[in-house]
Amino acid sequence: MRVNAVWQNIRQSLGFKRLFWHIFLTFWVASLAVMAATGYVLVNEYASNENNQRFLNLVTSQAERIVWRYEHETLVSGTAKRKIKDWIQQRENRRGELLPMLILDANGKTVFHYRMNKVPPEQRSEQQVYGPSNAQYSVFVHRPQAPHILKQVLYRFQSLQFVFIFIASALVSALLSWTIVKPIKYLGAFSRKYANEQTISSLPSPMLNRGDELGDLATDINFMVSKTHEAASAQQRLLHDVSHELRAPLARLQASAAIIEQKQPDNRHVKQIHNDCHRIDQLIQQILNFSTLENTMPEPKQCELLALCERILDDMAVNYPGIPTTLTPPKGGAQQSLIMCFPEAVHQALDNIIGNACKYSNKGESVDVTIEPLHDNVVIRVRDHGPGVNKDEIEKLLQPFYRAGNQMHTQGFGLGLSIALKAIHKHGGQLHMTSPSDGGLSVEVTLPKNVAPRD
């Protein structure tokens, strides 16, 4: 189990799909191929000459030995042929090499014949040797064949030299690969860091002044980061300014409406103006909340979920007096609901979810909130007994400006759950919605006890 995990770790950290390995293997294989090709050409040149020579030498020495023995035997007993056969037998038994060969004496009489029947005349080559008696013999052998080239090359590579080359080329390839990949990895880490922390910092000058393509890339990334940062802060400023600027005329509009109302207390249009002003104000606030969640990364703080939910339910009791609420605290008390998080974001998320539950409930239908620790997480379940949502609509609820069943007449803008989802994702948490069989909607929020910001 442990070994397996370690191996998984290694595989993951090495990552065989990585550019490092691509470059390394490409260079290594390429350098080995170049060396093999060079070897091939050299061996080819040498081998044909050298090999022929070696072959002919072998032939001559074997033929001379046979001829010497032949003359010696005939002189002694005149029954040489048989002895030579024995000799062949002997050599074969000892696994000695014996070249196929046909030896004729000057009269054309066969002195020695070994496996030459299948060799056609045009593939034979002839040589002359002389016996101790100075008699001339003709020796026929198979024409020298160049040995299989691969065998030759491999034969040569079986040396220490080659092992050296093998290791050296691996080292050089790895080094080359590393020098290319390292700055790329560094740049990646740099931009990831920026994306996570949103704090601007410059790349070190050795990186920027490399002068090669990677240096250019570093300069470009630096430029891009500063531009992105400018754009993000400009967007923040713009949103802030726009919301402020929108609110100023809205406040004036409300004041004007109030003055008209003072003079004509029963004007129903004024009431409409007041209602719409209130709506626009809420919309501005929600859009601001949405963009703030997107663009800021505050410090995590300790937060007691139980107390937070209690406060939210108190607020709900004021806003929706007809909806009874229950809160089930975790076993083991408040300590169990203590988490490190971005409290404002969690507050917004839970407020929107619980608020939705209350909004869509009818008078007397209760909204139940349960807090439950689960491993490294805390699960908050918000259950209402209202009309519920169709299964195929559940996913769409999380889209901005979507409202179930197109209930355009009810209050709100359909931003609440998108804000909640964004806030929960910011913590690395999850949001699930289910329609329980006995009606209503159940929203389950899982938050890690220690916030882990998304990458």
């Binding site: 402020h244 406040a251 109030a258 003055i259 003079k263 007041h274 606030q285 404002e344």
Partner: protein, 237 residues
């Protein structure tokens, strides 16, 4: 009360809005002056006691509403109502902690503003006319005539709302007072959703009491409100 003209000072950098709110509040029976910068507001407020209530916008270029509040509170107890951005919980709480009497998110319905101003004024008036009562509990001596609270002859500096809250809690010691009731009686207005005014006031009172050695006398009753204990007991929290 209707015949009496109360003086209101509106401080907001939006000139048009000031004019409109001024017109509305005058229609409601107040006498209204307007100022458009924090510095001028500080000058005016430090030199006169003319105003019954000041309406102060938090977001102003230059000297912000919070700066004005801090500077004025150091010398004067003129009732101040803060106009805060909606959703800026922190600004609200900071404003109350520095000593604002109440807050109202902006943009708001001017009728609501008028109601809040009247609530503040009514509260101040009640206190001026209330029968002089001396109450004592846990060594805290309240003098509703002089509006002073002392612990072991040491005077506590309390804002109007804090004094009201403390005297309400002491008056009904041993009973739990709901947040709704407290908001109604101390701030003269109904409790709203996301309304932290009472919590901030009570927490300020606790801090000030513990600074002079009186601890664990105000109990929070979760989901309900607060209670002044007749005998001190440590909080579970």
């Amino acid at each position: 009360m209707e015949n009496e003209k109360y003086n209101i000072l509106l401080v907001d950098d939006d000139v048009d809005l000031c004019a409109l709110l001024g017109e509305f509040l005058e229609g409601d029976g107040f006498t209204v002056d307007t100022l458009h910068s924090g510095d001028k507001a500080v000058d005016t407020l430090l030199n006169t006691n003319k105003y019954d209530t000041v309406v102060l916008d938090i977001m102003m270029p230059g000297m912000s509403g919070l700066d004005v509040l801090r500077t004025v509170r150091a010398k004067k107890q003129t009732p101040i109502l803060m106009l805060t951005g909606r959703g800026d919980d922190i600004d609200r709480i900071v404003g109350l902690e520095i000593g604002a009497d109440d807050y109202l998110p902006k943009p708001c319905n001017p009728r609501e503003l008028g109601a809040r101003i009247r609530a503040i004024i009514r509260r101040t008036q009640q206190l001026k006319s209330a029968a002089v009562v001396h109450t004592e509990l846990h060594g805290i001596v309240l003098d509703t005539g002089a509006r002073t609270a002392t612990v072991n002859k040491e005077v506590l500096t309390l804002t109007g709302a804090e004094f009201n809250a403390l005297s309400l809690l002491m008056e009904r010691a041993g009973q739990t007072i709901t947040k709704q009731d407290m908001t109604q009686e101390v701030l003269n207005r109904p409790l709203e959703a996301y309304d932290r005014a009472m919590d901030v006031h009570v927490s300020r009172i606790r801090q000030k009491l513990s600074a002079v050695g009186v601890i664990d006398v105000i109990k929070s009753v979760r989901g309900v409100g607060y209670q002044m204990l007749t005998t001190p007991q440590p909080q579970e929290q």
